[in-house]
Symmetry: C2
């Protein structure tokens, strides 16, 4: 059952350190064509991609992410946006009132899903070409600034960047949650004891992973890491900002 | 640059009509492993997958989607869910207050993105194995019922199903928006005349596509189709329902 594509998918690891070598126009266009080939809800194609080529723009975006190196130096930087602006223009062109639709949580979800499907096609295609990729959610630290820099109109929301490039350093793969914890048959896992036991089992695996990587210095558990992170809510401006962009309002 | 994986991605078309032949346990597990190999925001792994095997369950889910055949008859039905329930349990296990984080729009977006990245890996892996796939957003017609059927807890939101199976009928590929309309360099397209011209160009392409497929009977434009659909807002219960699930609250 294993084939080249599945090998590529299973070999995924994040690359944050790229060589100083740009992608060609042909590579970029191919990656966008791959993005566009993804499924789209009711054919709405509710996303846009901004390719950032300007070094200064990359630097400014990197600052927003807390100076992530992959944003400043890469082969190409794709910013994936949920996009219902196009459909706003369409409403105007066709003389139809589409406002209630476009402002709904349903269509917000559709646009986030569409943009993400497209992004993952780009990511896999890039990896299949021997390139490395890194998703960068850190743009969401300050979307107001991102929108200003990229001249983003109403009803468009930048979600994340995908930095693509020639890998300089290749990271290890982090072990994932046990399959049985993520995948349930016929209904969501109902046995709380089993559920918690799986988390415990995974904690041990993650502790081993960190111990090996750091020569015993680090011994985080996954649940410890997650609880620590989630105890400090991040980006609470998002709810109002998304509404101000004209999305997720009702 | 073209390789097997890119060929597979570019060849995507939706399959709605499957043979009466189930996927094996090995195929299903491999597809879940592929899902899990996707990137995940800050390692949160904020999704779950429900595999539906029960024929009666499939039938009930199909009814919710308006009797879509691909939901009732397929090789396997994966329901992808945004999942922060796991992190709620983690907060409890670790004695940390994670409520504000988990209820935020930011983390709602993270969980939708994580689930969608995973789903697209499953979709591509399945297609690379010669299987067909169909995303089914129609589950969102009645998520309350879906949650009851699949015993979905608080802070979990089913987003869509991916029906996978052996194709009985293969559809044509629909042409996508012009690349220049979806992909902008350095900033969002600022010239409204160019923007609208691209939509017009695409309308002609779509009209040709439908005319050829239907022997001239159908002549929809894309903007016409979209405006017609969006003039009738769908699933307006979603905003409150998502909040009731404990997500996207502030």
């Amino acid at each position: 059952m294993i084939n080249e594509t599945i090998e590529c998918i299973l070999a995924h690891r994040t690359v944050r350190d790229f060589e100083d070598r740009l992608l060609s126009k042909e590579q970029i266009e191919l990656l966008v064509h791959c993005a566009q080939a993804a499924s789209t809800s009711s054919f709405v194609q509710a996303y846009s991609i901004i390719g950032v080529t300007d070094t200064d723009q990359k630097k400014k975006l990197s600052e927003i992410t807390g100076n992530q190196a992959s944003v400043a130096k890469n082969g190409h930087l794709f910013v994936f946006c949920a996009d219902l602006h196009r459909h706003d223009v369409i409403g105007e062109l066709e003389g139809k009132d589409v406002a209630v639709s476009l402002e709904s949580t349903e269509k917000f979800m559709v646009s986030v899903i569409d943009a993400t499907l497209a992004a993952q096609n780009t990511a896999i295609a890039a990896e299949s070409m021997g390139l490395g990729i890194c998703y960068v959610g850190g743009l969401r630290n300050d979307l107001k600034k991102v929108c200003e820099l990229l001249k983003i109109p109403d009803k468009v929301l930048p979600l994340f960047a995908v930095a693509v490039g020639y890998p300089a350093t290749i990271n290890e793969q982090k072990p994932r949650l046990p399959l049985e914890h993520v995948y349930h048959e016929d209904c969501y896992e109902q046995d709380q004891a089993v559920y918690k036991e799986q988390l415990q089992q995974y904690n041990e695996e993650i502790q081993d992973y960190y111990a090996k990587r750091t020569g015993g210095e680090r011994a985080d558990t996954w649940t410890g890491q997650m609880a620590k992170m989630l105890a400090h809510p991040q980006r609470l401006y998002m709810h109002d900002f998304v509404e101000k962009q004209g999305l997720n309002k009702h």
